[in-house]
């Protein structure tokens, strides 16, 4: 078990998959000679050469489409889109081609392409570099969406995504690449569906994914130590499809739910999980489910305002205390 950074975990997954299968390639802006914006492909250019580690022009829709076309005939591309803000430009190929081609060809073709992209609010990157776009991707039939909250997941999810025959979008986070965590030394493949109880509890379920899992864990700690509330934390590493059974199991046990998301509330993970709770276990609830979300604004540049726009662990604590009628 090695304690490594998240970028190192992603790099290791690339390396192993590229060694395992000569048709695995990776491509994106500055991923080759320069080693990658987040170092996730560092050193691979020297090891595998320019045919397999491809520095692309700044043509997101073009190179994503190229990867999809190559995947039709057996190539296994891992595309890095430098930032999810730029992934908007590749939506056409991801949604119109990758997600639909198996269906509209009556099962003749599939697009086993992996698209990784860094999203989230980092440090004062401004409105056009701070998008949280998982809500947009997760509502598309035919496209899997996963989002790692730690290095182990980042490694194992990418490994499985490369081998899976569906297109997979991996939603990473700008400020999590240097986060450290344990990754098993032996090869391992993380499921692309399901959820994980990261911290068991009995009084309320906190649903998080990617960075918000960490806010949930911090909040659960505070709630336990200061308020005697034992929160269960569920990590929704798979956003499409969402884990109905896992959501039901946890809420049926705790009878309360709070969904914590870094994105704006509208049409998001929170609203979707709430809908699932309604459909699956409404009568098990002791209180209406709540959500902690970002303000409905483009992200401001000013650091104080930026921090105020997105939730943190304290916001989660306060929302839970409110739900329990313990605030003010």
């Amino acid at each position: 078990m090695a304690n490594i950074m998240l970028w190192e975990a992603i790099r290791r997954a690339h390396d192993e998959e590229m060694t395992n299968d000569p048709l695995v390639i990776c491509m994106g802006e500055d991923i080759g000679v320069a080693g990658g914006t987040y170092k996730a492909t560092n050193g691979l250019y020297d090891k595998y050469g320019p045919e397999r580690v491809i520095d692309t022009p700044i043509s997101e829709n073009g190179f994503t489409g190229l990867a999809i076309g190559a995947s039709f005939i057996g190539v296994r591309p891992i595309v890095e889109i430098m930032s999810v803000n730029f992934a908007w430009l590749a939506m056409d190929q991801i949604f119109n081609t990758a997600a639909k081609v198996r269906y509209m060809s009556g099962g003749q073709l599939e697009a086993p392409v992996v698209i990784r992209s860094a999203g989230g609010t980092a440090h004062q990157l401004g409105a056009q570099h701070s998008a949280r776009m998982e809500k947009v991707f997760m509502g598309i039939a035919g496209l899997r969406v996963v989002t790692p909250s730690n290095p182990k997941q980042a490694y194992g999810l990418l490994k499985s995504a490369v081998r899976c025959n569906d297109p997979v979008f991996i939603n990473e986070h700008e400020i999590m690449y240097n986060m450290k965590g344990e990754v098993p030394d032996e090869e391992f493949f993380h499921p692309l569906e399901g959820s994980e109880v990261t911290r068991p509890g009995r009084d309320i379920t906190l649903f998080g994914y990617n960075i918000s899992v960490h806010w949930c864990l911090q909040a659960a700690d505070i709630l336990s130590k200061k308020h005697g509330i034992e929160a269960e934390v569920v990590d929704l590493y798979a956003l499409n499809p969402l884990d109905r059974e896992g959501i039901r199991n946890s809420v049926s046990k705790t009878h309360r739910a709070m969904i914590v998301e870094e994105a704006e509330a509208a049409v998001g993970v929170g609203s979707e999980v709430m809908a699932i709770i309604n459909e699956e276990c409404f009568y098990e609830l002791d209180a209406p489910p709540g959500r902690v979300s970002a303000k409905n604004v483009p992200i401001p540049y000013n650091h104080t305002l930026e921090k105020a726009a997105i939730p943190n662990a304290n916001d989660v604590v306060n929302a839970v205390l409110n739900m329990f009628g313990k605030n003010g």
Partner: protein
Amino acid sequence: MDVAAKKRLLREMLFARRFEERCYEAYVERKIGGFLHLYSGEEACAHGVLEAANIGSDYVITSYRDHIHAIKSGMDPKEVMAELYAKETGCCKGLGGSMHIFGVEHRFMGGYALVGGPFPLAAGLAKGIKMKGGSEICICFLGDAANNQGTFHESLNMAKIWNLPVLYVCENNLYGIGTRIDRSTAVVDQYKRVSGYDIPSEQVDGQDVEVVYAAAQKAINHVRSGKGPYFLELMTYRYRGHSMSDSNAYRAKDEERVWSKRDPIIMLRDRLVEAGEITEDDYKKMDDEILEDIENNVIKFSEESPEPSMDLLEKYVLAENDPWVHGGPK
């Protein structure tokens, strides 16, 4: 091109025309739904180019105006028509439709409805060919108006820098739906636009199948010999409206008349008659046989085929029983 090949091409192009015109009727009878884009008038483009290709080995990809490229690629006209009829015997089991004809076993990699969408897909297929070390090429047919999409420029650039074996064929029929090319496009000669990417290109008469064939041979030789991408512009004209919902009111009757005098099928027929290779009667007989074949085989098959079963509705969304979804084979 030898006489036998010319005669075969005449028959294939006439079949294509009759097939498309029969689609028109079936659409009017409401047997075919959705959008329907016909290829009448443009037959020499697909036939001339693919005649020079290795059919079944080279990859072919195109837009929504795709029936004839699919058939020339080796697909059975029955499975194409049955797809238009939305039947389970259709090539895509009734899930695709006119704009999404696929015949992957013939390396016909599909019809796509987003204008410009296939440009990068074709480059990707070429990248795949290159990685696997094959001698195939990818041929991508698209319209003139598609060249105003960013994907055109992005793909030409990538195809050039990575030296990909892809032939882009522009079927320049002068219109993108109802907008004439000079109103939408700064440089109307499409082959000129490619010089910005240092890709060789040529513009030829797309109504003369022999001219198209000769140009395609040259283009395909270039691509197959490892010299990278090539761009071929074929000047052509569609007889029908853009799709069945298009009144075609934006085109001058004079213009239509001029082009109708350059019909690809009639031109080839007259040439063969003049050379004494066929008679008018032979042609008439060929036409009758084709009409009968379409009615008795293609249409009958489509009419009599079953509707898709309901369990197809949710079948091809995600891979079935993919072990990697659950962490790999147990």
